[in-house]
Symmetry: C2
Subunit: 129 residues, 2 copies
């Protein structure tokens, strides 16, 4: 198990020591944001989540959920039934993070026309090879 590797290199965010760096990577990483987004609508079971975060492998979903749970952003509720049932939901902290992340995403989506336009200009200028 090499999940929680916590590399945490020697750089930081704004020239200040940044202990949140690791957590931030769990949030903004490949699957973290998608997972938080999916859970923002409500509690979900493992395989529901897997379908919701389309494209994630069970390995990555598992790793992602463990990281988020460890950081206190997601709560894991396991019923010892058979077959097992495990529900995941955002903690209050996780909701705060998810909302801000969604805010960023929606801001961006609202301006994608600007982005696309900028890309066209850029590609015309330099993409000319």
């Amino acid at each position: 198990m090499e999940s929680t590797q916590e590399i945490d290199l020697a750089y930081d965010v704004f020239a200040k020591a940044c202990p949140s760096r690791g957590t931030l990577e769990h949030i903004t990483g490949r699957w973290g944001g998608l997972t938080l987004g999916a859970l923002h609508d409500g509690s979900l079971r493992f395989n529901e989540l897997r379908r919701r975060v389309d494209g994630v492998s069970e390995k990555m979903l598992s790793q992602t959920l463990q990281a988020l749970e460890r950081d206190g952003l997601v709560h894991r509720e396991a019923q010892p039934t058979n077959p097992p049932r495990v529900d995941y939901e955002l903690t209050p902290l996780g909701r705060g993070v998810a909302e801000r992340l969604i805010g960023l995403i929606q801001f961006l989506e609202g301006r994608m026309d600007e982005v696309l336009e900028a890309r066209l200009r850029y590609d015309e200028t330099r993409g000319a090879r």
Copy 2:
């Protein structure tokens, strides 16, 4: 030059097609956020940026800046002097993104005590092996 690979797999953010996905990765990626953060304080030259975003290689900084410029988040101003002088600064769009990103980061930093506490609890419970 393999920079703008734009893989853009078949998944999306909230079960909706998500064209902003690529840009979001530039923003939240390894160096994108750091770079936006550094530029939030004002215009910087390449090597100033390199020192500010401590740990970044010139290759990665170059790639990151190109991606952000292409997305219209960063403006590049090159003086054809000798030695050359190139200044980078956020565009209005970039500032909007940077502010939201910083908001997220500061929210997180303000609650790192909760995160750290959650980790302790988690490690006690499961880290017990």
